[in-house]
């Protein structure tokens, strides 16, 4: 799963997709995940970084991560590689 590389993401969680003009807002955790995905990180690395930064168990995070990815898919922000 790869996040579209041309997405513009601001620190406050504003996302702009230049390919179709759609814009989105996400919360801090969502913005961090997108940033890490843009850096090319995989789930295991993202999980490690996020559970170090936030007060969350890795298992609970993974469940929310999967749900978040499905939301990104619904909005055509990720693609299978």
């Amino acid at each position: 799963m790869k996040i579209n590389s041309n997405l513009a993401v601001s620190d406050s969680g504003f996302i702009f997709n230049p390919s179709n003009g759609d814009s989105f807002s996400t919360n801090a955790v969502g913005a961090d995940i997108i940033r890490l995905m843009k850096e090319g990180k995989k789930l295991t690395e993202i999980k490690k970084e996020m559970s170090a930064k936030y007060d969350v168990e890795p298992g609970a995070f993974e469940k929310d991560y999967e749900d978040f990815i499905s939301q990104l898919q619904d909005h055509f922000l990720v693609s299978h590689v």
């Binding site: 807002s25 801090a28 936030y54």
Partner: protein, 454 residues
């Protein structure tokens, strides 16, 4: 040195749309609701479990005193009677009785509760369509006010008083057209058709019935105060005619209840608090109508009010927790709570305000709130905008004091504790949670069904 981790919130994303502006905005909550009357929601859940109901005694007293002020500053003789069916947990009833409320009951079950709470029989108003002869006998012996609902009851009462040679204090419930739809004509005797006047004639001709009052209850969650002006005027017309024809002074007019609370009705365009008239507006039209009707000063009737919902809804909270989050097939977020329509019966007609009980970010999601029941009807809010809620997070449902603790169902799950925060900020259990034994104790097992082999 250990660094503190940041508070986690479930990741969420929302597409931003232009051209779909809502002038009322979409956010529903701006701040967490962490304390009720100074007591921490988290502590209450730790102590009493989740879900649990919390009643604020301070809010009940404040709301009641405000309503009494609204009427007593406009009219010389006012009496409130607590509507037991709205919330008949004994501790709640006793707060109203301490404030001076009589009891208004609609079944022998509620009547017995009022007597056991210590309400004198002559301060109980017995309403409702079901009063057996045995029930009527109890009310008669206790000298209670009997509000007759139909002719069958009236004839039962005539027979009974003749047998016992004891006088009953009676009023009739009158239904009428007040310009409000739907018209409640299933209770009492109709005004426009002359049925009410026929009942009055029958009572006045009965040796052991004393016609002391006239009662109406024109509807529920009434949003038009003027309907009460029509009701007060029609009851006054009957009272004045009784005086003229029979030279009998009617002691009281009971305008019933039906005043709304600040909840938002399902499908309403505006939120409840922006829509409902204040209690002063109802008081103004009712008292003005009676005072201007032309009663002689000595004949001015006592004004009785049986308002329930408007007195108790604001004082009730339901605390609950998130069981799970899921996504529906159409992409909508669904949040499953540990409380459902079994204990929050009013979710069928209100869009209840639900507030997270812990800090949250500014990011929100549209979601459906489901209860825990394995039943499709268990929907608490079909669409609400709330912050991303994590599993185990607590929420507070507001304005749940009316009807939920009487109409709740023992269905699939057991009913939780009801607690009360007193005016000093101390919390008390006023109704224990149910256990399996509560449910199975009244059951009986025939001998041939006691065993089985699987």
């Amino acid at each position: 040195m250990k660094t503190e981790k940041l508070k986690y919130e479930r990741p969420a994303i929302r597409k931003m749309n232009t051209g779909l502006m809502n002038k009322f905005g979409t956010r529903t909550e701006y701040a967490p609701f962490t304390h009720i009357d100074g007591v921490s929601v988290k502590e209450l859940i730790n102590k009493y479990g989740s879900p649990c109901f919390v009643i604020s005694e301070r809010t009940i007293r404040k709301t009641y005193q405000n309503a009494v002020r609204a009427f007593k500053t406009r009219y010389p003789k006012v009496q409130f009677a607590w509507s037991y069916k709205t919330n008949y947990i004994d501790a709640v009833c006793n707060v109203f009785h301490q404030e001076g409320s009589w009891a208004e009951v609609v079944s022998i079950f509620e009547y017995t509760k009022a007597i056991e709470n210590g309400v004198p029989g002559n301060k109980i108003i017995f309403n409702g369509p079901e009063k057996t002869k045995a029930d009527l006998k109890v009310a008669l012996e206790n000298n209670s006010y009997i509000h007759v609902d139909h002719f069958d009851e009236l004839y039962d009462l005539i027979e009974l008083t003749q047998e016992l040679k004891k006088t009953a204090k009676v009023a009739i419930r009158v239904n009428m057209d007040t310009g409000v739809y739907p018209m409640w004509d299933r209770f009492g005797f109709n005004y426009e058709s002359g049925q009410a006047w026929n009942a009055i004639n029958k009572i006045m001709a009965s040796e052991y019935l004393e016609m002391v009052g006239l009662h109406c209850h024109i509807g529920t969650f009434m949003l038009d105060p003027n309907a009460y002006a029509v009701a007060a005027s029609k009851l006054s017309d009957l009272a004045v005619n009784i005086k003229y024809v029979f030279n009998k002074t009617i002691q009281y007019l009971d305008l019933g209840g039906g005043f709304p609370s600040a909840n938002t009705l399902r499908g309403a365009y505006l939120p409840g608090p922006d829509m409902i008239p204040s209690i002063d507006e109802f008081a103004e039209v009712i008292t003005n109508t009676i005072l201007n009707y032309g009663y002689k000063k000595e004949d001015l009737p006592l004004l009785i009010l049986e308002t329930g919902r408007a007195m108790i809804d604001d004082a009730g909270y339901l605390l609950g927790s998130v069981i799970a989050n899921k996504r529906l097939s159409d992409g909508r977020r669904a949040t499953i709570m540990d409380f459902g329509v079994n204990i929050l019966f009013t979710a069928f007609w209100y869009e209840h305000k639900i507030t997270p009980a812990q800090e949250f970010s500014s990011h929100t999601e549209d979601m459906v709130i489901y209860g825990p029941l394995c039943m499709n009807i268990d929907v608490v809010r079909s669409s609400v905008t709330l912050p991303a809620l994590n599993r185990g997070d607590h929420v507070v449902v507001h304005k749940v004091g009316a009807y939920n603790m009487t109409q709740w169902m023992q269905f699939i799950a057991m009913r939780p504790k009801v607690t009360l925060i007193d005016t000093n900020g101390n919390s008390h259990i006023i109704r224990e949670n149910e256990t399996v034994k509560t449910i199975t104790e009244p059951e009986r097992m025939p001998d041939h069904l006691k065993t089985f082999n699987l």
